[in-house]
């Protein structure tokens, strides 16, 4: 039931301009779902204190702890078939990921200070690296935001499904439903309101630390043993004894690296912080990194001792986090459900972050003429509605295509993120070299090291996961870049064509007006009067007739109503209406070289219900004339109440 609603909303928003033009009354359906419009002048910029900024910007990054450990485990257990040996590799991998986190965070701290107006990968590479790298960064980040929504929602639904196993068959429906809800909320302009973000994010952080703390206490003090796995499928997974090759180790590492997704959000949103912005943003970034790093590390240790299980195809419905919580809290009690709920909530918020970032980035790219201008349009509620709708649709499609399985989406995810990181840091390296502020050398080295590391990770992800789906972004991002360039080429061509040259004057001097006439009625009389009011050099009424009686009738009416303009009648040999009209217009156009032709079409406007009964041929004529040079088409409406 959710999908049709989404479609309705999309129509409501997309069609708003045309609908609103004809009626001053607002569309009640749209009002109900979207809310009442906000004036542009009310676009106050809300400054966030650190304690609110943390949940707003960190939800995306911190939420990746809900699936990162699980993804590492899947690679070892299910793909490599390593069995119990997998658990001993969790901690080394998580240490590597945390090292990576430290590198990336230190690099982003510099970005924050260098670009206090918000330095996303796109902006930083645009300023420092030039066109193509910035487009690659922009394309990667756009792809990444779509995947953030898809992955977060899929993981959020996985948390729900783990708590209520009966929902398993409805996984995809739930995913699409939640995407629809988040899209709708964002069309209403929910933006990054702190009041909404803070409680679930803090709840999740608290629940996570309780889980880790209490879990470790139970493991080390109370000697809590591993989760018992009785069924044959689990035994099979645990029984694997393949040795872990470098390939699988790297694969597991690249899965774990998804924990880093979302940390660029702080650098993007520096202007949203309270003054002094860079300092507050940088502190927030570090707090976030500490929470992310410590919880990820803690979960890895916990998982090593409790040995949760997960396979790649989703035969085991419960998430690793759910299995851990169930074991630590000794069953499905209030703490278990609270953990699951908090997980779900933070994942929905993580998806919501992408809803703030994607439309903003796409509007910046559109402003630079690399994306269709429609992405710049702000809707009733001051959000970039088209970007929001596009994001909702794209992520829904992804979720449907991959069956709502987080694991299937992960290989697609990391490529874009790390491409973005690399370009952003490389951009910072160039930035430092260019400006040479005091003490730039160590900073440049830091950025360069970060760029090299993240480039390496991006390379590893593409190589080791190419067949699992990493080829999709590897194809999509270049395609996106090419289409950005194509769009830009078009816009530049149009702009170059339109720019007036020195001493330009409009190329037409004479004006011919053609009034299209069926039979004489009020509409035609009004159209003729209108045509005369234009004071053209020549005005002609043109009628396509079927038989001599038509012509005689028209002629008689012409005399009766004393219509003082020339009446041309042509017969359509082949019953087609548009062809003779176009031929006649061509002839008229040929007669003079400096002519502009206005075609006036009297049209009846009735209610929406019966409008389709009228003007079908007028529509066809208009469609044909749209692409004709030097031709103006005017409708003279007769409103029939």
């Amino acid at each position: 039931m959710v999908e049709p609603v989404v479609a309705l909303i999309a129509i409501g928003v997309a069609g708003s301009n045309t609908l609103m033009a004809t009626t001053t009354r607002s569309n009640p359906l749209k009002r109900f779902f979207i809310g009442k419009p906000i004036a542009t002048s009310e676009d106050g910029h809300q400054r966030l204190p650190k304690k609110v900024a943390l949940p707003v910007f960190a939800s995306d990054a911190i939420s990746s702890t809900t699936y990162a450990t699980e993804e590492i485990l899947i690679v070892f257990m299910s793909l490599a078939g390593a069995g119990v040996a997998a658990y001993s590799r969790l901690v080394p991998i998580s240490i590597l990921v945390i090292l990576l986190l430290i590198i990336v965070v230190s690099s982003y701290r510099q970005t924050i200070f260098a670009y206090p107006n918000g330095g996303g990968s796109y902006v930083v590479s645009r300023e420092n690296l030039g066109r193509i790298p910035s487009l690659v960064a922009g394309g990667s980040m756009l792809v990444d935001y779509i995947l953030t929504v898809a992955v977060s929602i899929a993981a959020g639904v996985a948390a729900i499904v783990s708590a209520f196993n009966g929902l398993e068959p409805h996984r995809v429906t739930l995913c699409v439903g939640f995407i629809a809800l988040v899209t709708l909320a964002n069309l209403r302009g929910l933006k990054e309101s702190g009041a909404l973000f803070a409680p679930p994010t803090y709840l999740y952080i608290v629940m996570l630390f309780i889980l880790i703390g209490y879990g470790l206490f139970r493991v080390f003090v109370q000697d809590l043993g591993p989760i018992p796995h009785e069924d044959t499928f689990s035994q099979e997974l645990l029984g694997g004894n393949n040795s872990i090759t470098l390939f699988f180790f790297l694969k597991a590492f690249s899965s774990g690296a998804v924990a880093l997704t979302g940390i660029e959000a702080v650098a993007d949103g520096v202007p949203a912080f309270k003054k002094p912005e860079p300092r507050n943003a940088s502190t927030t970034l570090i707090i976030m990194a500490c929470i992310l790093g410590s919880s990820f590390f803690g979960l890895s240790i916990l998982a090593q001792h409790l040995q949760p299980l997960k396979d790649e195809e989703g035969h085991i419905a419960d998430t690793v986090l759910a299995q851990l919580a169930e074991q630590v809290y000794g069953g499905r009690n209030i703490m278990f459900f609270l953990t699951q709920f908090a997980t779900f909530a933070i994942l929905i918020l993580a998806a919501n972050t992408a809803y703030a970032d994607f439309p903003r980035l796409s509007s910046i790219i559109a402003k630079d003429n690399y994306l269709p201008r429609q992405f710049m349009n702000r809707g009733d509620r001051l959000v970039f509605s088209n970007g929001v709708i596009f994001l909702g649709l794209a992520s829904s499609l992804l979720v449907i295509a991959f069956g709502g399985i987080v694991n299937a989406l992960i290989p697609l995810y990391a490529v874009g993120v790390f491409t973005g990181f690399t370009l952003s840091q490389f951009g910072m390296l160039v930035h430092h070299r260019k400006h040479k502020r005091p003490g730039w050398v160590p900073r440049a080295v830091m950025s360069g090291f970060g760029a090299a590391t993240t480039a390496l990770v991006a390379g590893i992800v593409v190589v080791v996961k190419f067949t699992d789906g990493a080829w999709i972004p590897a194809v999509v991002i270049p395609t996106l870049v090419l289409s950005f360039i194509a769009v830009n080429k078009h816009y530049s061509r149009v702009r170059g064509f339109l720019a007036p040259t020195e001493g330009y004057s409009a190329p037409f001097r004479t004006h011919t007006v053609v009034v299209l006439v069926g039979s004489v009625n009020q509409g035609v009389l009004q159209a003729v009067r209108y045509a005369q009011s234009l004071r053209p050099d020549r005005v002609i009424a043109l009628s396509v007739i079927q038989s001599p009686t038509d012509r005689a009738q028209l002629d008689a009416d012409w005399e009766k109503y004393n219509i003082g303009i020339e009446l041309d009648t042509v017969v359509s040999e082949y019953r087609d209406l548009t062809e003779p009209i176009l031929n006649r217009i061509n002839e008229l156009d040929d007669e003079l070289n400096d002519d502009i032709i206005t075609v006036i079409i009297p049209e009846f406007v009735t209610s929406l219900r019966s409008q389709w009964l009228h003007n079908q041929s007028a529509l066809a004529i208009k469609a044909r004339l749209l692409f004709r040079p030097n031709t103006v088409v005017t409708s003279v409406p007769i409103v029939i109440p």
């Binding site: 002629d555 303009i565 009446l567 041309d568 009648t569 087609d576």
Partner: protein
């Protein structure tokens, strides 16, 4: 009708098809084709009425018709009247007179004319 013709008619525009139809229709009369018409030389031409215009010029109307024989077009003006009996769309007439040139068109002003019966060549 062979395959060749089918292909030919499929690739032809409506105007070319119509021109071919008109040429076939008038070839038997053996008159001067409109494409060879020259201003200020007496000519006898024929064509199908393609367009009729009534110009209500300052109370003295005139009727203009455009005839087409498949090779070209000419304008025929009958001044002082709104309608000439027997001249209708799709009818064929033979025009006998001296055309003058008006812009890109050749115009016969009040020529002698013969109505051709419908449905006969």
């Amino acid at each position: 009708m062979g395959l060749k013709n089918v292909l030919k008619s499929a690739s032809m525009g409506v105007r070319e098809m119509d021109a071919e139809r008109l040429t076939d229709r008038f070839i038997a009369l053996g008159l001067q084709p409109l494409s060879e018409l020259e201003p200020r030389f007496k000519a006898k031409v024929c064509g199908e009425v393609k367009r009729m215009s009534i110009k209500p010029r300052a109370g003295i109307p005139s009727m203009e018709i455009v005839i087409n024989d498949g090779s070209g077009e000419a304008t025929v003006v009958f001044s002082g009247r709104r309608h000439v009996a027997g001249i209708e769309h799709g009818h064929c007439i033979i025009v006998d007179g001296v055309p003058h040139s008006d812009g890109k068109h050749l115009v016969f002003l009040n020529p002698a004319y013969t109505l051709l019966p419908m449905g006969e060549e």
